[in-house]
Symmetry: C2
């Protein structure tokens, strides 16, 4: 199908059929251009990265598993440079169109994968999610997306940003396809039923009123499936602190992972990306240690709270996608407010599914359901039931 939204990297159109007769036979997909495909360059969203790295020697196991399951690989999709951004902007390759709200950003960093699915170019697409890079474009583009439990899906052969946060996620236009991909990629188990539903108060308050109001029927539908939602607060301080600790923890890891390359290469970066690496370089060891300690305590609390099957519910993104003409200050404010909530699953290694439950300000907003590590399969089954309850296109 024609790339009318600019989802693929230049020269990134592919035609690699999967094995016949597999469980994904008949489905097409695309993959974010940070997954290695044997013999092809991996750009990681930046021409200097592509120039300084050889073509991939092997195909990433997650992609190979999808091909072996019968899915047909159609292209390599655009990403924010080094996956370090949430709007989906890429000045080198061009920012993909948001098919659900053309005057707004598609969200990132997995922008091309989200755009390809939202435009109906492929049935599903692989992205990756460190700080929200699948969940946010899913919310912005009005599609389903999953950030799986940390470590649940193989990330070998995928470029790293902050390894203790990085996950391999994916998008689909329907909950059924989202689940079918999970059956191929996820480990066995984790299918025990989920509940109760916990309404994370900070995240609902953090959302703008229009988003919260639009998603209220989605929450009510989830209550019909899981019983009444219990209000809970997760952060004794404020989610602003969660944002700040996440930012530091992620930045310290990003610099440890990519700093040497950035210093050696001095790559040309688009707006925001260079600034984020400069800030990452400036993180001192004491701040990093403080963030790691905070994270350990937060993660332990959350994992214990969710160990019995409880499900958190809140708006995936506090606002719809920013407009393409939003100034830098607005974009930064949205970024901080967004990461304050996406950090919940990120800090604790939880699995999260975003469901295209509503529209606000003429653009999509997603409802997130979040569960304990390892409960991905049950979460995907729950998302499918909720989609049916909401009569979303199946």
């Amino acid at each position: 199908m024609e790339d009318r939204v600019g989802a693929y990297v230049p020269g990134g159109t592919l035609d690699m059929p999967g094995s016949a007769g597999g469980p994904l036979d008949g489905l097409s997909f695309a993959a974010k251009d940070l997954y290695d495909i044997a013999g092809l360059p991996t750009s990681y969203g930046n021409p200097d990265w592509a120039r300084t790295h050889p073509p991939a020697a092997a195909t990433a196991p997650a992609i190979a598993a999808l091909l072996a399951a019968g899915a047909h690989l159609r292209g390599k999709t655009k990403t924010v440079e080094l996956a370090y951004g949430l709007t989906g902007e890429n000045v080198h390759h061009g920012t993909p169109l948001n098919p659900a709200a053309p005057e707004r950003f598609p969200g990132g960093s997995s922008c091309g994968s989200a755009a390809a699915v939202a435009a109906g170019m492929v049935d599903f697409a692989m992205g990756s999610d460190t700080g929200g890079s699948v969940r946010i474009p899913a919310s912005y583009c009005g599609i389903f997306g999953i950030r799986p439990s940390w470590g649940a899906v193989n990330l070998a052969g995928a470029c790293a940003l902050a390894p203790s946060f990085d996950t391999a996620g994916w998008f689909a236009a329907t909950a059924a396809v989202l689940r079918r991909v999970g059956e191929v990629l996820l480990p066995e188990g984790g299918e025990a039923p989920l509940g109760p539903l916990l309404k994370v108060q900070e995240a609902w308050v953090n959302a703008v009123p229009g988003t919260a109001t639009a998603l209220a029927p989605g929450l009510a539908a989830a209550e019909r499936l899981l019983g009444p939602a219990l209000p809970v607060n997760l952060v004794p301080e404020t989610v602003d602190l969660l944002y700040e600790r996440f930012r530091i923890a992620q930045a310290a890891e990003a610099w440890a992972t990519l700093g040497a390359w950035v210093e050696a290469t001095k790559p040309a970066f688009g707006p925001g990306v260079g600034e984020r690496f400069a800030a990452a370089r400036a993180v001192g060891p004491e701040a990093a240690e403080q963030a790691r300690r905070f994270r350990a305590g937060f993660a332990a609390r959350l994992r214990a709270l969710l160990a019995g099957g409880a499900v958190l519910a809140y708006p995936t993104s506090p606002v719809p996608a920013p407009r393409l003409d939003a100034d830098a200050a607005t974009q930064q404010a949205v970024r901080e407010r967004t990461l304050a909530v996406t950090a919940i699953a990120g800090m604790a290694g939880l699995c999260e599914v975003s469901i295209p439950a509503a529209r606000s300000e003429g653009a999509p907003v997603g409802l997130s359901l979040v569960a304990a590590p390892g409960r991905d399969r049950a979460l995907l089954a729950l998302a499918e039931r909720l989609a049916s309850e909401l009569r979303l296109a199946g």
Copy 2:
């Protein structure tokens, strides 16, 4: 030791040494007069019950286990008639004195056991807890008390009130003795560390401001042990509804258990008890079924929420013990407000320890820690750590 608080039933002083060398060797105890002691009458707090039942053929296994563990049984303690009341009043045997607040009720139904421990007559005492009958007198008398997980301690040979709520609990003046008794009575296991701490918002709001303020340092001490408390609401409606559903569910069972005897015997009851049985008789099958359905949903949510080790924290009783001259309307209002919170553990079969953390209005008030069924041993260990943190007499 002399019974200067009127803890024992008439003629209920005993001198039954336990087996030498057991883990409770050197400790004395008393038992609520609803536990059978072979050869002795069991009064269940009412002369007509004693008159219409033969002396016990066998000693209740829980009591036998304590004797086998070396504890010395000193007496049979007073109970509210048929254990159906929370003030501790007994017009037939006399209401025990509250040693910690002599102008106030001791709390019930396990009033004599609480008074005996609070007066230092024995090291620990067995009570039973259906709707709060250990937790409330523990709070009122300023001692430690546990309602164990439903089914965790053998209730054979103990008179039943509402079997799906009834539990065998106990009191002690120190957290260490409370734990040592648990090591004899509780099943093995359930020792995995607990956390996070959840502050049950409804229960703190339900308490009068003086009680909540007095217990705030106790909660802060628990936070030093378990990390910051996360605010949570457990009941989407209000705790008034929790009270009402509990009342109906308990009353239906109480009538099913004791109604035939009440109708056949027409016993003389003191204030309140007869009214409660009359109300229990009037519960219709539809209301009972509605209460059972509510309970099933509530219990499932709570058990899943606590399955990973989370601990609820709230005031055991919303107010200190009512004064002995409180009128019937005041007593009923306190009863309703109290059961609205004690019903949390009762409805869900949770284990709960009350810690004598503070005084308010010149009388004790307890802080409760509540955990999932089966985690009693970890809860007792946590109570001991909290007692140490609060520098309570060890």
